[in-house]
């Protein structure tokens, strides 16, 4: 039984320390990588609570897919990270105060939770029962969720599709800049060549 306590302490420590770094890291790529141990710790805590199904779901979706998606968007918006400015907004102090206040409220609430004696073990075949429940008793939420996933997929593609007009403007500007730069280089090269030729003529 004390093994459980040690495991719980270790997993909570991993989760909370990496969660702290998710919030505090200046470099957002590092913060996105810190998301992985945070959610991995949460998934293992789910396993310690005896729920293998949600352990797997949490591991696949949160510890795997979501940090990858966040990293993709970070790479696509990379140039906006500004090392010269603070990473907190001007309401940062209020945010910290609100978080501390909320933590106090939660801890006060947790004290009144009582101390229920947990059942010795979780029922066998929980995953199977949840799957059956999704296809019988909770069929409507299941179908609504599948429709919502489809809607979110289509909506995300629609929102993130490249706007052809805006992109062609950006591409056009970039092309103009490159052509100007090439012209400048050509001109300076011509000038240098002319100067060299003149000097050679002088010496001859």
């Amino acid at each position: 039984m004390s093994q459980e306590v040690a495991l719980f302490a270790l997993l909570s420590l991993i989760t909370l320390v990496s969660g702290y770094w998710v919030v505090r890291c200046r470099n957002l790529v590092h913060a996105a990588f810190w998301l992985m141990p945070t959610f991995f710790g949460v998934a293992l805590l789910f396993l310690l609570l005896g729920n293998e199904l949600l352990f797997t779901v949490q591991l696949l979706i949160y510890s795997g897919a979501i940090p990858i998606t966040v990293l993709f968007v970070l790479m696509l918006t990379r140039e906006v990270m500004r090392p010269d400015r603070t990473e907190f907004n001007r309401l940062g102090a209020f945010g910290a105060a609100a978080a501390v206040l909320f933590l106090g409220l939660c801890l006060a609430g947790a004290r009144t939770a009582g101390n229920p004696e947990p059942p010795p073990s979780v029922p066998v075949g929980l995953t199977r029962r949840v799957g059956e429940a999704f296809l019988t008793e909770y069929l409507l939420p299941f179908e609504v969720a599948s429709l919502m996933l489809l809607g979110a997929l289509v909506g995300a593609v629609y929102l993130a599709r490249s706007d052809k007009k805006a992109r062609s403007e950006v591409v056009g500007l970039e092309r103009k800049r490159l052509i100007d730069q090439a012209r400048e280089e050509e001109k300076s090269a011509d000038a240098a060549a002319a100067g060299m030729a003149r000097r050679r003529g002088d010496s001859v």
Binding site: V22, V23, T38, V42, A113, P116
Partner: protein, 104 residues
């Protein structure tokens, strides 16, 4: 499990939620705000499952509910990241203080 009180789980979930709240309220980059939201979702799920284990282990409501929450959170993240990309295309910036185009 006998030696581990329910309060231990609640305290861990509360600290994780507060960290997420701080990240969501205090960061400047919109993607960092989203990461704070993710931490809050994880803390809420942890709380739900702790109560399920200690009080309602025979019922299926909590696992089903947590599964649906994870699904909704994944949809929300995908859409929010798509919106962040759209904002980036429009403003070349995802700073929640600088992007004020919809200010009333």
């Amino acid at each position: 499990m006998q030696t581990l009180p329910l309060q231990a789980w609640l305290v861990v979930a509360a600290i994780l939620f507060s960290l997420g709240l701080y990240g969501a309220l205090a960061r400047r980059n919109a993607i960092a705000v989203l990461m704070g939201l993710e931490l809050m979702f994880a803390a809420a799920n942890l709380n739900l499952l702790a109560f399920w284990r200690y009080k309602w282990v025979q019922s299926l409501e909590a696992p089903v509910f947590v599964t649906v929450i994870i699904l909704v959170a994944a949809c929300e993240t995908a859409l929010a990241l798509a919106i962040v990309l759209g904002v980036f295309r429009r403003f070349r910036n995802v700073d929640i203080e600088d992007v004020g185009g919809m200010r009333g």
